[in-house]
């Protein structure tokens, strides 16, 4: 059977993609909300900066963890 027509391999690929896709979805959503959300002044601006940093961390974390496990493991 051809590799690309094997449907269970596509399912396994979907499961393995979630380790990147899940954090990316949350991180990009946080970044978009912090960058383009309704702008307010004062403490809200500081909290939006924290949300932006959290989003960047969510996007970077799976890549760093994957590379770290590849190097150390």
């Amino acid at each position: 059977m051809d590799f690309f027509t094997s449907w269970d391999i596509l399912g396994i690929s979907l499961v393995l993609s979630l380790r990147f896709l899940g954090p990316f979805a949350l991180g990009v959503s946080l970044i978009a909300w912090a960058a383009f959300g309704p702008s307010r002044s004062g403490t809200r601006r500081r909290s939006s900066l924290l949300i932006l940093l959290l989003g960047v961390l969510m996007c970077v974390a799976p890549v760093v963890l994957f590379l770290a496990t590849d190097i150390l493991g």
Partner: protein, 153 residues
């Protein structure tokens, strides 16, 4: 009619994003470089998901009159359409897995793979679309576009 077309397009985009995620994940099987390329493609898919959600909401809001603008949450509608598409794609994938497996070898995992993946991917792909569409909706109402009522102070 506009809402129906937005739902159909959103569902089609949800199926397409599910399949693109599956094929992008296949690149990560080969090597570390392939995994890095796979991660980059998945990031691009999520970013495109936000943009597509915003575009669909903008298209949905462009025909909104002053009497219809108020209490509807178009962001949830757009995200729900992508959720429905990804869930339908997962069901299709599960059906193909079942048909690809001999009846004697079918286990609980074979039956639950499609609906489970569809639900998870519906949520994962729906959230960025909801965020993008809600951002566009908030900006639309705050700028008073198409005579819509103002919702932000």
């Amino acid at each position: 009619m506009r809402r129906f077309s937005v739902f159909v397009v959103g569902a089609a985009v949800g199926v397409a994003l599910l399949l693109c995620s599956a094929f992008a994940g296949l690149l990560g099987f080969a090597s570390v470089e392939g995994a890095a390329l796979s991660a980059f493609l998945l990031f691009a898919l999520v970013a495109a998901d936000v943009v597509i959600g915003g575009l669909l909401a903008r298209f949905l809001l462009s025909g909104t009159g002053p009497s219809r603008g108020g209490g509807r949450s178009e962001g949830l509608f757009v995200g729900g359409s992508l959720f429905a598409g990804a869930f339908a794609g997962g069901l299709l994938l599960g059906a193909m897995i079942l048909l690809d497996t001999p009846p004697a070898a079918r286990t609980l995992y074979d039956f639950s793979a499609g609906p489970g993946l569809g639900l998870v991917y519906g949520m994962v792909l729906g959230v960025p679309a909801v965020v993008g569409a809600t951002l566009v909706e908030l900006r639309f109402y705050s700028s008073g576009g198409d005579n819509a009522p103002r919702r932000l102070s």
